[in-house]
Amino acid sequence: MIRILRFSILPLLAAMISCSDADETEDDNNTDSFDRGEMLQNWADNIIIPSFENFEGITQNLEAKTLAFTEEPTEAGLAELRSAYVEGYLGFQTVSIFEIGEAEAVNYRANLNTYPLDAEGVEEKISSNEYNLELPSSYDEQGFPALDYLLNGLAETNTEIVEFYTSHENAEVYKNYLQNVSERINALTSVVHSGWKNSYRDDFVANTGSSSTGAVDRITNDYILYYEKFLRSGKIGIPAGAFTGNPVPGAVEAYYSPSLSKDLYLKALETTQNFFNGRHFDGSQNGPGYGDYLDYLNTIKNGEDLSSLIDGQFVTINEQAAVLDNNFVSQVENNNNDMLAAFDELQQNVILLKVDMMQAISISVDYVDSDGD
């Protein structure tokens, strides 16, 4: 009997140990099953790192253009800086999903794109000349929304805006603030990008475990969170007043240059769809992604063709976007119903991603780590 007890305790111990070690187990060379390591590699090497590489180039340019403008504030310089800002804001949409690794550690998305901007707060900080952009309380006083305000929102005309940097009593502080915002965007981007270039890439690709700390699980939760909260709600739902009943034009992304808002939305949408399909950042080809993973799992369970359904819904969302005004501020003010229709189309994919895809790949929603039975 005692021998039996001993026999039973050994596997128990083994179970406990192997469970806690599950994260570190390497994927063995499966021949017949889906290679998640390859998918992670595709995500890292062909999508995420090239996106940051490209974006860091953009933010460097943004910082340089900002410097040029603050050294000699002219209307021509403002125009150039604005186009760098537009390029930067669009570029940001290609990296915003990936709030993992260094990006998560520095709260990258919150720093670069918390909107609506607290414009009053920015003005107060400038007039007192006391500010620290590194404080979490300053999230809504920096990043692209702050650039937007400083380049487009200070006054009606370009001449007047330039005057803030030349003849205004706080011109020096305006210049410094603008400079600091640009520098911080570039600096944080550089931190995140070098994180990937250094050790994080290898950690990420090697982390093929199935636990909630595995890279596939983590990034899938990030992906769906991004889609639901930042794409669906942030760009469309909240401005359209889907959660309050009243449209909130002030909550439109790029509120001070609102003709950019739809392009930002489309760029983010394109990024989420491409990531789903595993499309390389350079657009040359598709590598393994969620679509393939779902297709593989479907060979086991013979269910609905989820990957086509989801990709198809992305296409529908894009088609619906054709009726939207380039300027979301005037869209929600004049024809909010089309905006709400966009929300509904986006919603369809929340269901397919969050319910059907998550069930199919057997990943649970984040932070639900209690026991099951």
Binding site: I2, L12, D28, N30, F243, I300, K301, V355, D366, S370
Partner: protein
């Protein structure tokens, strides 16, 4: 037959198995409570949520704010006292009440094994588990008995048997046996297990697990009862539960079941276990071997036995209550809980609530994360009673915010066992016109497929 019954209930046996059970139960419960605390779950599950989902009829049971910690301390302490057998009756009653209170605070956290702990501790209130190898028996020789009525130990076996057997019955359905669902969804995601990872991608493995799981649950109580198969059965118990521990996030439950299964063995092994413990802690076990036999007074015995019979009749009937409801049980979940339907289905859902002003027609959606934790939201989206309760809570909230003529609708989708998600709740029903009850909820949309079986 009558004679056999009478003689059965007069039969005595060694107290040691029940004492071992009590010791292990107490200390495993203590460990569970500590583990729960260390995982930060008290805060996450009971303190942080601003809203909790009550059980119908138990709306008065609510988390107690920071006193919830005190509740867990009481629960842990009483488990410890049960383990050492000190003031046993008071300890086990306290444990039952505090543990059950914890479970009733929020049905989001419902697990069959928590329910099992609740009713097992309830049963233990009525058993003389402190008659042997306890501080109580040490202090008061009057209540120390080396032998107790046999039915005391058999009642625990019966309860364990019911849990397994009903869990097995629940697996007799077409999704489980003919489609190998939901194991087909769950097993492949364990691709990173050494040795097993590749195997778990194979379809035949999913079927093998499904069928053997069903047979295991149905047969294990009998294999444990029959002395010739007992050792083999215990090996199976260990393998089965270790496997479930490896494959699923299942907490302490496997260990509790493995240790509980020891009760099926003859007292020899239990004496050996107690000897080991005695040697470890320098306890004089021989003190308890007093050869005294416990026999209840006839009147007390009759009341006890009648009461426990009633308890077991309820246990045997409760899982069948789903038959009183129309529709597919897995879909409606009417009569799903308290029925040993363990790891039986994979359900995921999404519920978008819409608040409408009935007069002006103005409407807006609710951001669930403003009110619920992700865990609550996940459970809410797949269970109609949660959806209804939440709708009423939302109405109260928005009424306070000054909204008027509130109507609440939900657009919800549920995917069951790998089927594509479909509409779940009638989106034209104003949920505020519905009240929770044990009656069938007519606002649940029909399930467009069939799952045959029990």
């Amino acid at each position: 037959m009558n004679q056999w019954i009478t003689s059965y209930f007069n039969r005595n046996t060694q107290s040691a198995p029940l004492a071992v059970f009590r010791v292990f139960f107490g200390f495993m419960m203590l460990a569970s409570i500590i583990r729960f605390w260390l995982n930060g779950w008290i805060e996450k599950l009971y303190i942080l949520p601003e809203f909790s989902f009550s059980y119908y009829g138990f709306e008065w049971v609510k988390p107690l704010g920071n006193f919830t910690y005190v509740l867990f301390i009481i629960c842990g302490l009483s488990a410890f006292f049960v383990g050492i057998g000190y003031k046993y009756r008071l300890a086990i009653i306290t444990f039952f009440l505090s543990f059950t209170y914890i479970e009733l605070m929020d049905k989001t956290t419902y697990l069959n094994h928590y329910y099992f702990i609740s009713i097992l501790s309830f049963l233990l209130i009525f058993l003389p588990a402190n008659a042997y190898y306890s501080l109580d028996a040490k202090k008061n020789p009057d209540i120390a008995f080396q032998k107790i009525p046999r039915w005391c130990i058999d009642s625990i076996k019966l309860l364990l048997g019911i849990v397994y057997f009903y869990a097995g019955l629940a697996k007799i359905n077409s999704d489980w046996l003919l489609k190998a669902m939901p194991l087909k969804l769950w097993l492949p995601s364990n691709y990173d297990l050494p040795f097993l990872g590749d195997l778990l991608q194979q379809e035949w493995v999913h079927y093998a697990f499904s069928w053997s799981g069903m047979f295991y649950d149905l047969l294990i109580p009998f294999l444990l009862l029959y002395h010739r198969t007992r050792v083999f059965a215990f090996v199976l118990v260990v393998i089965f539960h270790v496997l479930t521990r490896l494959l699923f996030p299942i907490g302490m439950f496997p260990y509790i079941m493995i240790v509980s299964a020891l009760i099926f063995f003859d007292s020899g092994i239990h004496h050996k276990i107690l000897e080991k413990i005695s040697r470890l802690f320098g306890i004089a076990k021989s003190y308890f071997d007093n050869d005294r036999e416990l026999s209840f007074l006839p009147k007390k015995k009759n009341i006890l036995l009648s009461f426990l019979s009633l308890f077991f009749i309820v246990q045997l009937m409760l899982p069948w209550r789903y038959l009183l409801y129309p529709g597919e049980l897995f879909w409606t979940e009417e009569g799903f809980r308290f029925s040993w339907r363990v790891m039986l289905m994979e359900k995921a859902g999404y519920a978008q609530f819409k608040v409408v002003d009935g007069k002006t027609g103005k409407r807006f959606y609710v951001d669930n994360s403003d009110f619920l934790t992700p865990f609550q939201e996940k459970q809410m989206a797949i269970q109609p009673d949660f959806i209804l309760q939440y709708a009423h809570y939302l109405a109260d909230h928005f009424r306070k915010d000054g909204h008027e003529n509130i109507e609440i609708y939900v657009e919800s989708y549920v995917a069951l066992n790998g089927r594509k998600s479909t509409s779940y709740i009638d989106s034209d029903t104003n949920l505020l016109e519905e009240k929770d009850s044990f009656k069938h909820k007519t606002f649940i949309l029909p399930f467009h497929d069939q799952i045959k079986g029990l």
